[in-house]
Symmetry: C2
Amino acid sequence: MKISSLETLVLYLSKLPGLGPRSARRMALHLLKRREGLAYPLIEALKSAADTIKECSLCGNWDEEDLCSLCRSETRENYLLCVVESVADLWALERMGSYKGAYHILGGTLSALDGRGPEDLKIEALVRRIKESQFEEIILALNATIEGQTTAHYLKEYISQNAASNLKITHLAYGVPLGGELDYLDDGTLMTALKERRFF
Amino acid sequence: MKISSLETLVLYLSKLPGLGPRSARRMALHLLKRREGLAYPLIEALKSAADTIKECSLCGNWDEEDLCSLCRSETRENYLLCVVESVADLWALERMGSYKGAYHILGGTLSALDGRGPEDLKIEALVRRIKESQFEEIILALNATIEGQTTAHYLKEYISQNAASNLKITHLAYGVPLGGELDYLDDGTLMTALKERRFF
Protein backbone atom coordinates (compact mmCIF):
# COMPACT_ATOMS: atom_id res chain seq x y z
CA MET A 1 0.00 0.00 0.00
CA LYS A 2 1.21 3.46 -0.94
CA ILE A 3 2.27 5.66 1.96
CA SER A 4 0.09 8.75 2.01
CA SER A 5 1.45 12.27 2.36
CA LEU A 6 -0.15 12.36 5.79
CA GLU A 7 1.81 9.31 6.95
CA THR A 8 5.03 10.79 5.56
CA LEU A 9 4.35 13.99 7.49
CA VAL A 10 3.76 12.08 10.74
CA LEU A 11 6.96 10.12 10.12
CA TYR A 12 9.12 13.23 9.85
CA LEU A 13 7.37 15.01 12.73
CA SER A 14 8.05 12.00 14.96
CA LYS A 15 11.79 12.52 14.38
CA LEU A 16 11.66 15.87 16.16
CA PRO A 17 13.07 15.90 19.70
CA GLY A 18 10.54 15.08 22.39
CA LEU A 19 7.88 13.86 19.96
CA GLY A 20 6.70 10.27 19.89
CA PRO A 21 4.29 8.82 17.32
CA ARG A 22 1.23 9.99 19.24
CA SER A 23 2.29 13.62 19.63
CA ALA A 24 3.48 13.63 16.01
CA ARG A 25 0.01 12.55 14.86
CA ARG A 26 -1.56 15.17 17.08
CA MET A 27 0.75 17.79 15.62
CA ALA A 28 0.00 16.73 12.04
CA LEU A 29 -3.75 17.10 12.67
CA HIS A 30 -3.16 20.47 14.35
CA LEU A 31 -1.14 21.69 11.35
CA LEU A 32 -3.63 20.47 8.75
CA LYS A 33 -6.51 22.09 10.59
CA ARG A 34 -4.65 25.41 10.44
CA ARG A 35 -3.11 25.41 6.98
CA GLU A 36 -3.28 29.14 6.19
CA GLY A 37 -2.58 30.29 9.74
CA LEU A 38 0.14 27.85 10.68
CA ALA A 39 1.24 25.13 8.20
CA TYR A 40 2.13 27.37 5.24
CA PRO A 41 3.75 30.10 7.39
CA LEU A 42 5.77 27.39 9.18
CA ILE A 43 6.91 25.98 5.82
CA GLU A 44 8.06 29.48 4.81
CA ALA A 45 9.81 30.14 8.14
CA LEU A 46 11.57 26.77 8.15
CA LYS A 47 12.68 27.14 4.54
CA SER A 48 13.92 30.66 5.11
CA ALA A 49 15.87 29.66 8.24
CA ALA A 50 17.31 26.50 6.66
CA ASP A 51 18.43 28.52 3.62
CA THR A 52 19.98 31.46 5.46
CA ILE A 53 21.15 30.57 8.97
CA LYS A 54 24.86 29.83 9.25
CA GLU A 55 27.43 29.41 11.98
CA CYS A 56 29.45 32.46 13.00
CA SER A 57 33.09 31.74 12.15
CA LEU A 58 34.27 33.58 15.26
CA CYS A 59 32.01 32.49 18.16
CA GLY A 60 29.95 29.64 16.69
CA ASN A 61 26.58 31.39 17.21
CA TRP A 62 23.92 30.93 14.54
CA ASP A 63 22.85 33.93 12.53
CA GLU A 64 21.87 35.03 9.05
CA GLU A 65 25.26 36.69 8.65
CA ASP A 66 28.85 35.77 9.41
CA LEU A 67 30.03 37.40 11.71
CA CYS A 68 26.92 37.09 13.86
CA SER A 69 25.11 40.11 15.27
CA LEU A 70 26.78 39.68 18.68
CA CYS A 71 30.29 39.57 17.21
CA ARG A 72 29.50 42.53 14.90
CA SER A 73 28.09 44.63 17.73
CA GLU A 74 30.28 47.49 18.90
CA THR A 75 28.54 47.94 22.24
CA ARG A 76 29.49 44.55 23.76
CA GLU A 77 32.12 44.44 26.49
CA ASN A 78 35.01 42.96 24.55
CA TYR A 79 37.18 42.21 27.59
CA LEU A 80 34.83 39.40 28.72
CA LEU A 81 34.58 36.00 27.02
CA CYS A 82 31.96 33.49 28.06
CA VAL A 83 32.55 29.88 26.99
CA VAL A 84 29.37 27.81 26.60
CA GLU A 85 28.58 24.31 25.34
CA SER A 86 25.88 25.09 22.80
CA VAL A 87 23.88 27.73 20.96
CA ALA A 88 20.98 27.00 23.32
CA ASP A 89 23.15 27.98 26.31
CA LEU A 90 24.19 31.21 24.57
CA TRP A 91 20.51 31.99 23.97
CA ALA A 92 19.73 31.32 27.66
CA LEU A 93 22.39 33.81 28.76
CA GLU A 94 21.21 36.38 26.21
CA ARG A 95 17.62 36.05 27.43
CA MET A 96 18.83 36.66 30.97
CA GLY A 97 20.14 39.91 29.53
CA SER A 98 22.73 41.12 32.02
CA TYR A 99 25.81 39.65 30.30
CA LYS A 100 27.22 41.95 27.65
CA GLY A 101 30.53 40.30 26.77
CA ALA A 102 31.55 37.98 23.94
CA TYR A 103 30.81 34.26 23.59
CA HIS A 104 32.61 31.16 22.43
CA ILE A 105 30.59 28.03 21.67
CA LEU A 106 32.51 24.79 22.28
CA GLY A 107 30.07 22.54 20.47
CA GLY A 108 29.70 20.03 23.30
CA THR A 109 31.67 18.56 26.17
CA LEU A 110 34.50 16.09 26.52
CA SER A 111 33.04 12.62 26.96
CA ALA A 112 34.99 9.39 27.25
CA LEU A 113 31.70 7.50 26.99
CA ASP A 114 30.69 9.10 23.70
CA GLY A 115 34.28 9.21 22.42
CA ARG A 116 34.50 13.02 22.25
CA GLY A 117 38.03 14.27 22.83
CA PRO A 118 39.49 17.82 22.84
CA GLU A 119 39.94 17.73 19.05
CA ASP A 120 36.16 17.37 18.61
CA LEU A 121 35.48 20.67 20.40
CA LYS A 122 36.41 24.18 19.32
CA ILE A 123 39.27 24.39 21.84
CA GLU A 124 42.13 25.30 19.51
CA ALA A 125 39.99 28.07 18.04
CA LEU A 126 39.33 29.27 21.60
CA VAL A 127 43.04 29.36 22.48
CA ARG A 128 43.85 31.16 19.23
CA ARG A 129 41.08 33.67 19.90
CA ILE A 130 42.30 34.33 23.45
CA LYS A 131 45.86 34.89 22.19
CA GLU A 132 44.73 37.31 19.49
CA SER A 133 42.32 39.30 21.66
CA GLN A 134 42.54 41.36 24.82
CA PHE A 135 40.22 39.44 27.11
CA GLU A 136 40.62 40.08 30.83
CA GLU A 137 38.38 37.27 32.01
CA ILE A 138 37.23 33.94 30.63
CA ILE A 139 33.94 32.72 32.16
CA LEU A 140 33.55 28.97 31.77
CA ALA A 141 29.73 28.77 31.78
CA LEU A 142 29.45 25.03 31.19
CA ASN A 143 26.59 22.94 32.48
CA ALA A 144 26.85 21.73 36.07
CA THR A 145 26.96 18.11 34.87
CA ILE A 146 29.86 15.70 35.33
CA GLU A 147 30.84 16.13 31.70
CA GLY A 148 30.45 19.91 31.76
CA GLN A 149 32.61 20.16 34.87
CA THR A 150 35.28 17.79 33.54
CA THR A 151 35.45 19.91 30.40
CA ALA A 152 35.68 23.11 32.45
CA HIS A 153 38.63 21.77 34.48
CA TYR A 154 40.38 20.62 31.32
CA LEU A 155 39.84 24.04 29.72
CA LYS A 156 41.15 25.89 32.76
CA GLU A 157 44.44 23.95 32.64
CA TYR A 158 44.71 24.10 28.88
CA ILE A 159 44.09 27.83 28.63
CA SER A 160 46.55 28.61 31.46
CA GLN A 161 49.27 26.59 29.77
CA ASN A 162 48.65 27.44 26.13
CA ALA A 163 47.08 30.87 25.94
CA ALA A 164 47.73 33.15 28.89
CA SER A 165 48.77 32.22 32.38
CA ASN A 166 47.74 35.51 34.00
CA LEU A 167 44.14 35.50 32.71
CA LYS A 168 41.23 35.44 35.16
CA ILE A 169 39.33 32.19 34.60
CA THR A 170 36.01 31.92 36.43
CA HIS A 171 32.98 29.67 36.58
CA LEU A 172 29.34 30.31 37.47
CA ALA A 173 28.36 30.13 41.16
CA TYR A 174 26.80 26.87 42.34
CA GLY A 175 24.17 26.73 45.06
CA VAL A 176 20.50 26.72 45.86
CA PRO A 177 18.53 27.95 42.81
CA LEU A 178 16.24 30.91 43.52
CA GLY A 179 12.87 29.59 44.62
CA GLY A 180 14.48 26.25 45.44
CA GLU A 181 13.31 24.37 48.52
CA LEU A 182 16.04 22.60 50.46
CA ASP A 183 13.90 19.52 50.94
CA TYR A 184 13.75 19.00 47.18
CA LEU A 185 17.41 19.65 46.39
CA ASP A 186 19.88 16.88 45.64
CA ASP A 187 22.66 16.29 48.18
CA GLY A 188 25.38 17.55 45.85
CA THR A 189 23.74 20.95 45.42
CA LEU A 190 23.06 21.23 49.13
CA MET A 191 26.63 20.30 49.99
CA THR A 192 28.04 22.85 47.54
CA ALA A 193 25.66 25.53 48.80
CA LEU A 194 26.81 24.89 52.39
CA LYS A 195 30.50 24.79 51.51
CA GLU A 196 30.26 27.99 49.46
CA ARG A 197 28.17 29.86 52.03
CA ARG A 198 28.58 33.65 52.15
CA PHE A 199 28.38 36.35 54.83
CA PHE A 200 25.17 38.33 55.06
CA MET B 1 15.64 45.46 15.31
CA LYS B 2 14.70 43.15 12.44
CA ILE B 3 13.34 39.74 13.45
CA SER B 4 15.65 37.04 12.10
CA SER B 5 14.44 34.00 10.20
CA LEU B 6 15.49 31.92 13.20
CA GLU B 7 13.22 33.89 15.55
CA THR B 8 10.33 33.59 13.09
CA LEU B 9 10.86 29.83 12.96
CA VAL B 10 10.86 29.56 16.77
CA LEU B 11 7.70 31.69 16.87
CA TYR B 12 5.77 29.35 14.56
CA LEU B 13 7.14 26.20 16.18
CA SER B 14 5.98 27.45 19.58
CA LYS B 15 2.41 27.54 18.23
CA LEU B 16 2.41 23.76 17.81
CA PRO B 17 0.48 21.81 20.45
CA GLY B 18 2.53 20.87 23.50
CA LEU B 19 5.47 23.12 22.62
CA GLY B 20 6.49 26.05 24.77
CA PRO B 21 9.17 28.58 23.86
CA ARG B 22 11.97 26.38 25.23
CA SER B 23 11.03 23.22 23.33
CA ALA B 24 10.40 25.31 20.21
CA ARG B 25 13.96 26.68 20.42
CA ARG B 26 15.30 23.18 20.99
CA MET B 27 13.36 21.96 17.98
CA ALA B 28 14.60 24.82 15.79
CA LEU B 29 18.22 23.99 16.67
CA HIS B 30 17.56 20.29 16.04
CA LEU B 31 16.07 21.07 12.61
CA LEU B 32 18.86 23.41 11.56
CA LYS B 33 21.51 20.90 12.59
CA ARG B 34 19.83 18.33 10.31
CA ARG B 35 18.87 20.35 7.26
CA GLU B 36 19.32 17.71 4.55
CA GLY B 37 18.13 14.80 6.67
CA LEU B 38 15.19 16.42 8.40
CA ALA B 39 14.36 20.11 7.76
CA TYR B 40 14.04 19.96 3.94
CA PRO B 41 12.25 16.57 3.92
CA LEU B 42 9.85 17.91 6.58
CA ILE B 43 9.18 21.01 4.46
CA GLU B 44 8.34 18.75 1.51
CA ALA B 45 6.16 16.41 3.57
CA LEU B 46 4.26 19.27 5.21
CA LYS B 47 3.73 21.05 1.90
CA SER B 48 2.57 17.88 0.20
CA ALA B 49 0.13 17.03 3.00
CA ALA B 50 -1.19 20.60 3.26
CA ASP B 51 -1.73 20.70 -0.51
CA THR B 52 -3.42 17.32 -0.92
CA ILE B 53 -5.15 16.14 2.27
CA LYS B 54 -8.89 16.80 2.34
CA GLU B 55 -11.87 15.76 4.42
CA CYS B 56 -13.88 12.76 3.21
CA SER B 57 -17.38 14.02 2.38
CA LEU B 58 -18.94 10.82 3.68
CA CYS B 59 -17.22 9.97 6.99
CA GLY B 60 -15.07 13.04 7.74
CA ASN B 61 -11.75 11.13 7.68
CA TRP B 62 -8.73 12.85 6.14
CA ASP B 63 -7.23 11.45 2.99
CA GLU B 64 -5.68 12.46 -0.31
CA GLU B 65 -8.90 11.50 -2.07
CA ASP B 66 -12.59 12.02 -1.47
CA LEU B 67 -14.04 9.43 -0.70
CA CYS B 68 -11.33 8.32 1.70
CA SER B 69 -9.64 4.93 1.41
CA LEU B 70 -11.82 3.48 4.19
CA CYS B 71 -15.06 4.57 2.51
CA ARG B 72 -13.80 3.38 -0.91
CA SER B 73 -12.75 -0.02 0.41
CA GLU B 74 -14.98 -2.92 -0.59
CA THR B 75 -13.75 -5.26 2.13
CA ARG B 76 -15.06 -3.28 5.12
CA GLU B 77 -18.08 -4.58 7.01
CA ASN B 78 -20.69 -2.10 5.83
CA TYR B 79 -23.33 -3.09 8.38
CA LEU B 80 -21.32 -1.53 11.24
CA LEU B 81 -20.98 2.21 11.82
CA CYS B 82 -18.66 3.57 14.48
CA VAL B 83 -19.24 7.19 15.56
CA VAL B 84 -16.12 8.95 16.90
CA GLU B 85 -15.31 12.49 17.97
CA SER B 86 -12.22 13.14 15.86
CA VAL B 87 -9.83 11.89 13.19
CA ALA B 88 -7.37 11.02 15.96
CA ASP B 89 -9.92 8.64 17.51
CA LEU B 90 -10.54 7.01 14.11
CA TRP B 91 -6.79 6.51 13.75
CA ALA B 92 -6.61 4.95 17.23
CA LEU B 93 -9.29 2.41 16.33
CA GLU B 94 -7.62 1.67 12.99
CA ARG B 95 -4.27 1.06 14.72
CA MET B 96 -5.99 -1.38 17.06
CA GLY B 97 -6.91 -3.18 13.84
CA SER B 98 -9.79 -5.44 14.78
CA TYR B 99 -12.64 -3.10 13.76
CA LYS B 100 -13.53 -3.43 10.09
CA GLY B 101 -16.74 -1.40 9.82
CA ALA B 102 -17.39 2.16 8.67
CA TYR B 103 -16.80 5.39 10.60
CA HIS B 104 -18.53 8.69 11.12
CA ILE B 105 -16.56 11.59 12.59
CA LEU B 106 -18.68 14.02 14.62
CA GLY B 107 -16.10 16.77 14.77
CA GLY B 108 -16.29 17.22 18.55
CA THR B 109 -18.74 16.92 21.42
CA LEU B 110 -21.69 18.91 22.66
CA SER B 111 -20.47 21.44 25.20
CA ALA B 112 -22.57 24.03 26.96
CA LEU B 113 -19.36 25.58 28.31
CA ASP B 114 -17.80 26.06 24.88
CA GLY B 115 -21.13 26.86 23.25
CA ARG B 116 -21.15 23.85 20.93
CA GLY B 117 -24.67 22.68 20.17
CA PRO B 118 -25.97 19.82 17.95
CA GLU B 119 -25.84 22.04 14.85
CA ASP B 120 -22.05 22.39 15.27
CA LEU B 121 -21.52 18.63 14.96
CA LYS B 122 -22.12 16.37 11.96
CA ILE B 123 -25.31 14.95 13.46
CA GLU B 124 -27.74 15.67 10.62
CA ALA B 125 -25.27 14.08 8.20
CA LEU B 126 -25.12 11.06 10.50
CA VAL B 127 -28.91 10.68 10.61
CA ARG B 128 -29.12 11.06 6.83
CA ARG B 129 -26.39 8.48 6.36
CA ILE B 130 -28.11 6.00 8.68
CA LYS B 131 -31.41 6.43 6.81
CA GLU B 132 -29.77 5.90 3.42
CA SER B 133 -27.63 2.89 4.44
CA GLN B 134 -28.24 -0.57 5.80
CA PHE B 135 -26.37 -0.37 9.11
CA GLU B 136 -27.33 -2.98 11.70
CA GLU B 137 -25.43 -1.44 14.58
CA ILE B 138 -24.22 2.01 15.51
CA ILE B 139 -21.27 1.99 17.94
CA LEU B 140 -21.00 5.28 19.80
CA ALA B 141 -17.23 5.25 20.49
CA LEU B 142 -17.03 8.65 22.15
CA ASN B 143 -14.48 9.50 24.81
CA ALA B 144 -15.34 8.49 28.37
CA THR B 145 -15.43 12.13 29.43
CA ILE B 146 -18.48 14.00 30.72
CA GLU B 147 -18.86 15.76 27.38
CA GLY B 148 -18.32 12.59 25.37
CA GLN B 149 -20.91 10.73 27.42
CA THR B 150 -23.44 13.58 27.28
CA THR B 151 -23.04 13.62 23.51
CA ALA B 152 -23.45 9.82 23.32
CA HIS B 153 -26.71 9.96 25.28
CA TYR B 154 -28.00 12.77 23.10
CA LEU B 155 -27.09 10.82 19.96
CA LYS B 156 -28.77 7.66 21.18
CA GLU B 157 -32.07 9.49 21.68
CA TYR B 158 -31.77 11.50 18.50
CA ILE B 159 -30.95 8.53 16.28
CA SER B 160 -33.76 6.43 17.77
CA GLN B 161 -36.27 9.21 17.14
CA ASN B 162 -35.08 10.51 13.78
CA ALA B 163 -33.35 7.69 11.94
CA ALA B 164 -34.33 4.20 12.95
CA SER B 165 -35.94 3.06 16.16
CA ASN B 166 -35.03 -0.62 15.74
CA LEU B 167 -31.29 -0.10 15.27
CA LYS B 168 -28.80 -1.57 17.75
CA ILE B 169 -26.98 1.34 19.40
CA THR B 170 -23.98 0.36 21.55
CA HIS B 171 -21.11 1.97 23.40
CA LEU B 172 -17.61 0.75 24.31
CA ALA B 173 -17.25 -1.24 27.54
CA TYR B 174 -16.02 0.67 30.58
CA GLY B 175 -13.86 -0.92 33.26
CA VAL B 176 -10.34 -1.55 34.47
CA PRO B 177 -7.88 -0.93 31.60
CA LEU B 178 -5.61 -3.91 30.85
CA GLY B 179 -2.50 -3.64 33.01
CA GLY B 180 -4.36 -1.27 35.33
CA GLU B 181 -3.79 -1.52 39.05
CA LEU B 182 -6.86 -1.01 41.22
CA ASP B 183 -4.94 1.13 43.67
CA TYR B 184 -4.23 3.69 40.95
CA LEU B 185 -7.70 3.82 39.39
CA ASP B 186 -10.13 6.65 39.96
CA ASP B 187 -13.29 5.86 41.92
CA GLY B 188 -15.57 6.28 38.92
CA THR B 189 -13.74 3.63 36.89
CA LEU B 190 -13.63 1.28 39.84
CA MET B 191 -17.33 1.75 40.54
CA THR B 192 -18.22 1.10 36.91
CA ALA B 193 -15.96 -1.96 36.77
CA LEU B 194 -17.66 -3.39 39.86
CA LYS B 195 -21.17 -2.63 38.64
CA GLU B 196 -20.47 -4.13 35.22
CA ARG B 197 -18.73 -7.24 36.57
CA ARG B 198 -18.96 -10.41 34.47
CA PHE B 199 -19.06 -14.16 35.15
CA PHE B 200 -15.82 -16.05 34.70
